[in-house]
Amino acid sequence: DTAVSQTPKYLVTQMGNDKSIKCEQNLGHDTMYWYKQDSKKFLKIMFSYNNKELIINETVPNRFSPKSPDKAHLNLHINSLELGDSAVYFCASSHIGSPLHFGNGTRLTVT
């Protein structure tokens, strides 16, 4: 009965590869997010979707492309991975303006 689930939990890949992270929520929320947490634990928003529509797109390289096939899913595809992309990526969901429910993160390591 996991509320926000993201896969995989760990992802190790080489520079230049393309990878995807999947996220699903079963809370009935209308808004989903991707956050990036760096090595110093700073959480920074990347994208936000409300009812499958992109509403927030912070300054993120266009190698990152979110896709929301429906309100319960928000996937993140990353092209041409770079060393600096190594981080923990968190998916979250909420009703807009309400507190966030986070997944347990995907630790991406680019070598």
Binding site: L43, K44, P99
Partner: protein, 110 residues
């Protein structure tokens, strides 16, 4: 850009001690939230405060929102080893994106 400054960045205390961590900004917020994050997991909401001067209690944790809605504090009484974790404050105005502070990493030693 709304910035949230958290202090201290690191805190290591003995079990049974009291502590206070702070979250400060020059911006006014409509709501402020505190989350706790444990290793290998996502942040989990502890509390939301919305009214200036508001105080909320969660067992041994006391949260206060500043009168001007620019800052907040979290006080833990008689800390336990289970309180160990990263404490994050986050805030927004209206429907703007939630902005997080850099967190206070608390370590409670038995």
């Amino acid at each position: 850009t709304q910035l949230l400054e958290q202090s201290p960045q690191f805190l290591s205390i003995q079990e049974g001690e009291n502590l206070t961590v702070y979250c400060n900004s020059s911006s006014v917020f409509s709501s402020l939230q505190w989350y706790r994050q444990e290793p290998g997991e996502g942040p989990v909401l502890l509390v939301t405060v919305v009214t200036g001067g508001e105080v909320k209690k969660l067992k041994r944790l006391t949260f206060q929102f500043g009168d001007a809605r620019k800052d907040s504090s979290l006080h833990i009484t008689a800390a336990q080893t289970g309180d160990t974790g990263l404490y994050l404050c986050a805030a927004n105005s209206g429907n703007t994106p939630l902005v997080f502070g850099k967190g206070t990493r608390l370590s409670v030693i038995a």
